[in-house]
């Protein structure tokens, strides 16, 4: 043999190790409160409609649904998009990110489409914006591209781009939500929720999940964490294990 591969492997391992072994906060765990199967195929994100007992859930097939707190469909939007992957609601509007077409569709609470905003992003069609929320600390929308690479984009209320930040805490981003001075970023591949500082997007905490293909996250006023699984087609409610 012309090459001593044992030496090559050992060299690669030990030289590379320090570069990739990052120190991160110790992950916290969640306690499962309930699980509900969904009739919605390929659900991809969820948000809570403020001051109601309703959720908005979007699906990969470009569909938007209004559900009760058990995920039972109450209404489906007439408008059909391409590939709905992110959803956020303020006091009277629902904002939906269509990943492939890079369009933000705006609906009212009756699920009537009232507006749309075309964003510009030339990355992979399936690596676009799967996450959307409103960062109250900075008074702007925050969208993060899924992967290859993941980039934090800030937009004003008319979806004019304000600023970009690199995102390096996980291999992908599938959803984001704002809750009480924190941003919660859901990572499908690593099955983690990363808690970020909404001012500088630094990592503050990690919450470990065990769900298959978690694609959507929302947090209730009383701190219950809602997780949507795409492959599992279910909605789970968790509380944070404080032990």
């Amino acid at each position: 043999m012309y090459i001593n591969f044992r030496v090559l492997f050992v060299t690669v391992f030990f030289v590379a190790l320090p570069f990739f072994a990052q120190s991160k906060p110790k992950p916290k765990k969640l306690v499962l409160l309930s699980k509900a199967d969904l009739s919605i195929k390929e659900p991809s994100d969820i948000c809570i409609l403020p001051n109601t007992n309703k959720y908005a859930i979007v699906s990969d097939n470009g569909l938007l649904f209004l559900t009760d707190t058990n995920g039972v469909v109450l209404k489906e939007a007439d408008f059909k998009g391409f590939d709905f992957e992110g959803v956020f609601a303020d006091e009277n509007k629902i904002y939906v990110s269509d990943e492939r077409s890079r369009i933000i569709y705006v609906f009212d609470y009756n699920l009537e489409k009232i507006n749309s905003h075309q964003l510009t992003y030339y990355g992979g069609r399936n690596s676009g914006f799967e996450s959307i929320t409103f960062n109250k600390n900075k008074n702007c929308f925050v969208l993060i591209t899924e992967k290859h690479p993941s980039i934090i984009f800030e937009y004003d209320k008319d979806f004019k781009e304000l600023k970009q930040y690199p995102y390096t805490f996980s291999s992908d981003v599938s959803s984001i939500t704002y809750h009480k001075e924190h941003l919660y970023v859901l990572c499908d591949e690593e099955k983690k929720i990363l808690v970020l500082n909404p001012n500088d997007y630094s990592l503050e905490n990690i919450i470990q999940l065990s769900d298959i293909n978690p694609e959507g996250i929302a947090i209730t006023e009383d701190g219950r964490i809602l997780i949507i699984s795409d492959d599992g087609q279910y909605l789970k409610k968790y509380s944070l294990d404080t032990k």
Partner: protein, 376 residues
């Protein structure tokens, strides 16, 4: 070495794997796949040394994929590396030229030159393979992996069940080359293929070769497939059909199964295939009082992915019997693989060592191949 690692780290944070464009309901994506390797072969006996130590461009692929709403999809993929290496005319540079109608409720219909829905290993794209080469039975030397035809597909039960039914020319990859000139066999008959997959607790994509996510819940997928063709003539090409089985004259029935599982970083794959041939060329029956012979092959593969090291370690055993009427004709290979996934599969080191267990065969050899994969 440190400089190289810094450059690699920088690449991992900036690499764009694809580019996409939108115009109304039309969405177009451009992507590519480059693979270069160094190959070292260890021959058992004197042998022409043309592949002993060589750099090779394994792939130089360019792919265009598009969607029109959620109703239609299309794919066009070329491998430029094959343009250079296809002097023998056996293999087309074209890898995909097909479109899918998705707007019908009862089925999706894919038409054109495409992968044949047979064998999980074959259906898994090269970019998601941990090894440079699939197991012997599934690497395109025993059965055709692509052909021109039509596939009906439908999924059920939250995509856990997938059913695919196809009809193809039966000429395999040669249908797109001068070997056939695009013509069918004199019999005019087609090859029929069917595949059913059952996955639990969720769908199990072909690209989940490694358990990158360290599933806490075991994921499993069982695939059962079969194909049937009846031909008048044998069409054997020199390099891509060394066993003369891919386009053999006579009646050929192939049945196969595959079982894949992922759990806590471990990935397992088992495949078994049996091809029964009633050949028009009776010399293939070795003068025995038989009406058919069998070609049999299997693959057992186990991988482990370490997230801290970004490394995958794979061990594989595969065997192949080209004709069960020929005694002691089993080809057995042990392979060891290593991958360093700098940026997932998008930027990856791939190493494979082949160790032939059937040391009696004079033309077999061990080899090692090391190289890099870059998607763009």
């Amino acid at each position: 070495m440190k400089k190289i690692l810094y450059i690699m780290l920088l690449m991992s944070n900036t690499v764009f794997a694809q580019y996409s464009f939108n115009a109304g309901n039309n969405n177009l994506e451009l992507s590519g796949l480059l693979n270069m390797n160094y190959n070292n072969r260890f021959y058992l006996k004197d042998h022409p040394d043309n592949k002993a130590d060589v750099f090779k461009l394994a792939t130089a692929r360019f792919k265009i994929e598009g969607r029109v709403s959620n109703d239609y999809e299309y794919k066009l993929q070329l491998d430029m590396a094959r343009l250079g290496y296809s002097g023998d005319g056996e293999f087309p540079a074209l890898l995909d030229a097909n479109f899918t109608i998705k707007k019908l409720k009862f089925t999706n219909i894919t038409m054109g030159y495409q992968k044949i829905p047979y064998s999980r290993s074959s259906l898994t794209g090269f970019e998601h393979q941990t090894m440079w080469q699939r197991g012997e039975v599934a690497r395109g030397q025993v059965f055709s992996r692509r052909d021109l035809g039509v596939v009906l597909s439908k999924d059920y039960w939250k995509q856990r069940v997938n059913v695919m039914l196809g009809a193809f020319t039966g000429q395999g990859e040669t249908i797109m080359t001068d070997v056939t000139g695009g013509d069918n066999d004199a019999s005019g008959k087609l090859e029929y293929v069917g595949r059913v997959e059952l996955s639990y607790p969720s769908k199990f994509k072909y690209n989940e070769t490694l358990d990158l996510n360290h599933s806490d819940i075991p994921k499993i997928s069982l695939g059962l497939n079969g194909r049937y063709v009846e031909r008048q003539n044998t069409l054997q090409t020199l390099n891509k059909d060394p066993y003369g089985l891919k386009i053999i004259g006579g009646e050929k029935t192939m049945l196969g199964m595959d079982l894949a599982a992922n759990y806590k970083g471990f990935s397992f794959l088992f495949e078994a295939h049996n091809m029964n041939v009633n050949p028009t060329d009776k010399s293939r029956l070795q003068g025995l009082n038989k009406t058919s012979f069998n070609a049999i092959g299997s693959i057992i593969q186990l991988s482990y992915y370490n997230r801290i090291l970004k490394s995958a370690f794979t061990a594989r055993y595969d065997d192949f019997i080209e004709n069960d009427l020929i005694p002691n004709s089993t080809m057995q290979t042990l392979s060891g693989g290593y991958n360093f996934l700098l940026d997932g599969y998008s930027s990856m080191l791939r190493v494979q060592y082949w160790y032939r267990l059937d040391r009696t065969q004079t033309d077999t050899y061990d080899q090692i191949r090391i190289g890099w994969q870059q998607k763009f």
